[in-house]
């Protein structure tokens, strides 16, 4: 019932129809389906185990509703997330403007959350260059500015999808390891001190 243990929460943000669900579907099931889907009942939450070096990390991938009417609630979703994949449609300039909105929100309210910009539907550009609605260099500059990673993906062909999630997992391992190291430097075992349930006493 309760599902597997999850190490890190990864939240997917982005306007409606930019392809958040397809991205997850491609990553988890290695497929891109146009017609009726067969086996899954929902792709809103997925737990996926990824190998990073000799460690296995379980990412809990949270899909979110992109419609503007739920914008006010998006903060509830990304609370406590270790990574956010902010998606935009490469053929739709307005979707990138919305992506900036989420980046701002994340930077304001969720400092510890790493941001990954993800342009979707890159296969449409292969077919027709003129359909590009978001300039690559503009986004790259923006990504540098906000210290985010940038990926241009296609859920249809699978381009850069695995790389994106692999990077998310690797960063998670790297940064939590770093955090643990810095915590240990303090040299105080907080777990012993903070427990009021073990009555300690000076008599022995």
């Amino acid at each position: 019932m309760s599902g597997p243990r999850v190490d890190a929460k990864v939240v997917l943000l982005g306007k409606e129809y930019v392809g958040k669900t397809s991205l997850v579907e491609r990553y988890v099931h290695q497929r891109f389906l146009v017609g009726p889907y067969q086996n899954t009942i929902g792709a809103a939450f997925v737990a996926k185990v990824i190998a990073v070096g000799d460690r296995a990390v379980t990412l809990g991938i949270w899909d979110t509703a992109g419609s503007e009417r739920y914008e006010a609630m998006s903060r509830i979703y990304y609370r406590g997330a270790r990574a956010a994949i902010v998606c935009y449609d490469l053929t739709d300039g307005s979707s990138f403007e919305r992506a900036k909105f989420w980046v701002n929100e994340l930077q304001t309210f969720e400092e510890n959350c790493r941001i990954y910009l993800c342009g979707t539907k890159s296969d449409l550009l292969e077919e027709d260059r003129r359909r590009r609605g978001v300039d690559f260099h503009d986004v790259q500059d923006y990504a540098d500015e906000i210290k985010a990673e940038l990926f241009e993906t296609s859920s249809k062909t699978g381009q850069s999808v695995d790389e994106l999630f692999q990077k998310v997992a690797e960063d998670y391992v790297r940064f939590t390891a770093f955090q643990l190291m810095t915590e240990e430097k303090g040299g105080i075992d907080l777990s012993q001190k903070s427990s009021p349930y073990f009555y300690s006493c000076c008599h022995h």
């Binding site: 019932m1 309760s2 599902g3 597997p4 243990r5 999850v6 190490d7 890190a8 929460k9 409606e16 958040k20 669900t21 579907e25 389906l33 009726p36 889907y37 899954t40 009942i41 929902g42 792709a43 809103a44 939450f45 737990a47 809990g60 949270w62 899909d63 979110t64 509703a65 992109g66 419609s67 009417r69 739920y70 006010a72 609630m73 509830i76 979703y77 609370r79 406590g80 777990s191 903070s194 427990s195 009021p196 349930y197 009555y199 006493c201 000076c202 008599h203």
Partner: protein, 554 residues
């Protein structure tokens, strides 16, 4: 057996009363001045005591506490085992003919009379003992009886009663506490069921811990201590209590991992059981506590959802077609699950209800759309389900889960995901306005005030396979509203007529009055008039010229 226990204890004591009794007995027995006992160690070792250590000095407290704890742990195990035995017996005898919860009436009666007689005898014994020999003797009797514990049931009962009087509250085992509390609360049948559940959970917990061997015992000890600590923290704000619980989860998990080297999977399992055990016991003190405004918020949300009864799936863009029987079946199941959440006591069970509800929603969407649901489909549908179901005490449940659920589960896992969605749904419902339903402000206001319902306009283009009765009902509703309209028109016309009539009479009256004022009717006395004519015209010179007498004369 414990029915009886509860009963006696309920009679004897609201805990406050018993505590007072305990105090007076204690001072009598020891003969120590009350004010001094507050300063010195109660054991009389000469050191100063401390209220935090129940009036003992640190050393004596440690000894006392250690002893009491050991004893209590052992007794708990014994009690649990005994309960299990009895439960099984009772189950075997009652279940063969009846459902698990309902005993036949005669059996119930039998049990009740048993309770009564036993109660009478023990109470008698108790009083005779205390009146004859005084408190000290009872204390001795307690020690004496202790040897027979487990062999003689009645003795055990007295012992428990006495224990409650004599032992400091920190020494009381929490199952007993729970039972006392349960006996205190208003509805006996619910309590009985609740206490059955509490006992069942304890039993399962102990069974479960046996598989953990030594760490299991340690877990049990820690849980007991935590429950005691929480018992004393009942006055604190709910946020502080929540923090204690969260700290406790964290400490236990860490200890299991670092000291006992339990594998993460088994830690996870143990944590689930620990949560179940402690939250079953704490539930009634920390769920929707009086110190918070949770209840008020519940009512607000409930009222709000009621006011929004007119919201249709179309307005929310819900991708669910309830005309498909399978789908409407899923919708009903989802609603049942979300309503059921309130009946669970453990945060994790509540979460499981939300998850189950969500799975049904996913199924409904999948059948309708023929593709897996994304969050864009899921959230509106969940909102719709919440609006349709109006689950009881929604806010309290959300608060309770947030405060007392094991945080690792809540923040990251699948259950957490669905819970977050539910929080969003509630937040959306609270803030919902015309814009979020793509309605004009006028329409929204009209629907909110109940003047019209958007459903009425739709009744025409309903699909043919809708239930006939429902169709007829809507037709009738239409007719009724038409009739209502006509009636209103008639009433307003009638009022207008009435107004017109009143205006007309008023008008006539006014006209008449005007004329009367304009042409006042002056009736002069007859004689005088004649006299005036006949008299000499004294005032002739004042008259206007046409009335000069000369004219007549001429």
């Amino acid at each position: 057996m414990y029915f009886y226990l509860k009963h006696v204890k309920g009679d004897l004591s609201a805990p406050r009363r018993s505590r007072r009794k305990k105090m007076s007995l204690k001072s009598e027995r020891r003969g120590i001045h009350v004010d001094q006992s507050e300063l010195l160690c109660k054991k009389g070792c000469g050191y100063y005591g401390n209220p935090a250590w129940q009036g003992f000095c640190s050393k004596c407290w440690r000894e006392e506490y250690h002893k009491a704890r050991q004893k209590q742990i052992q007794e708990d195990w014994e009690l649990a085992e005994r309960l299990q035995r009895e439960e099984e017996e009772a189950f075997a005898s009652s279940h063969s003919t009846q459902g698990a919860q309902s005993l036949t009436f005669s059996k119930f009666e039998e049990k009740k009379t048993n309770e009564k007689t036993r109660k009478v005898t023990t109470v008698k014994k108790f009083f005779s003992a205390s009146s004859r020999t005084g408190a000290k003797k009872v204390a001795q009797e307690k020690n004496l009886k202790q040897g027979q514990l487990g062999r003689e049931r009645n003795a055990d009962n007295i012992l428990r009663d006495l224990k409650e009087i004599f032992t400091p509250s920190w020494e009381l085992a929490s199952p007993t506490e729970a039972e006392i509390q349960e006996a205190k609360a208003p509805s006996p049948s619910i309590n009985r069921q609740a206490s059955i559940e509490t006992d069942r959970v304890s039993k399962e917990f102990i069974e479960f811990l046996k598989t953990y061997h030594k760490p299991g015992q340690d877990i049990y000890k820690q849980c007991k201590m935590f429950l005691e600590a929480m018992h004393h923290k009942r006055e604190l704000s709910i946020e502080e209590q929540s923090e204690c619980a969260q700290d406790f989860y964290q400490n236990v998990a860490e200890k299991l991992q670092t000291r006992w080297k339990v594998s993460p999977e088994r830690v996870e399992k143990a944590m689930d059981q620990i949560e179940k055990y402690i939250m079953t016991r704490l539930y009634k003190y920390v769920f929707c506590p009086e110190t918070t405004d949770d209840e008020k918020k519940d009512l607000v949300v409930q009222k709000r959802i009621r006011a929004l009864h007119w919201v249709t799936p179309q307005m929310l863009c819900v991708p669910v077609n309830e005309d498909i029987p399978e789908v409407s079946d899923m919708v009903v199941k989802a609603i049942t699950d979300i309503i059921e959440m309130d009946s669970k006591r453990v945060p994790r069970d509540k979460l499981a209800c939300i998850t189950k509800c969500s799975k049904h929603i996913f199924n409904a969407i999948k059948i309708t759309k023929n593709e897996p649901a994304s969050a864009d489909d899921f959230l509106p549908t969940l909102i719709y389900i919440v609006l349709k179901g109006n689950p009881p005490r929604l806010q309290s449940n959300i608060q309770y889960i947030t405060r007392f659920c094991n945080p690792s589960r809540l923040m990251t896992g699948e259950d957490g995901y669905y819970f977050t969605n539910l929080c969003c749904a509630v937040a959306f419902i609270e803030k919902l306005d015309a814009q979020s339903l793509n309605l004009s402000q006028e329409d929204f206001d009209r629907y909110m005030s109940g003047q019209t319902s958007p459903k009425k306009q739709e009744s025409e283009n309903w699909s043919p396979d809708v239930c006939l009765g429902v169709k007829q009902m809507y037709k009738n509703l239409d007719l009724l509203s038409q009739l209502n309209e006509r009636q209103e028109r008639i009433v307003s016309e009638a009022k207008k007529l009435e107004r017109d009539l009143i205006d007309w009479t008023d008008g006539i009256t006014k006209e008449v009055q005007d004329i009367v004022e304009k042409y006042p009717l002056e009736i002069k006395p007859k004689n005088q008039a004649l006299a005036a004519i006949d008299s000499e015209n004294v005032e002739n010179d004042k008259l206007p010229p046409p009335l000069q007498p000369q004219v007549y004369a001429g």
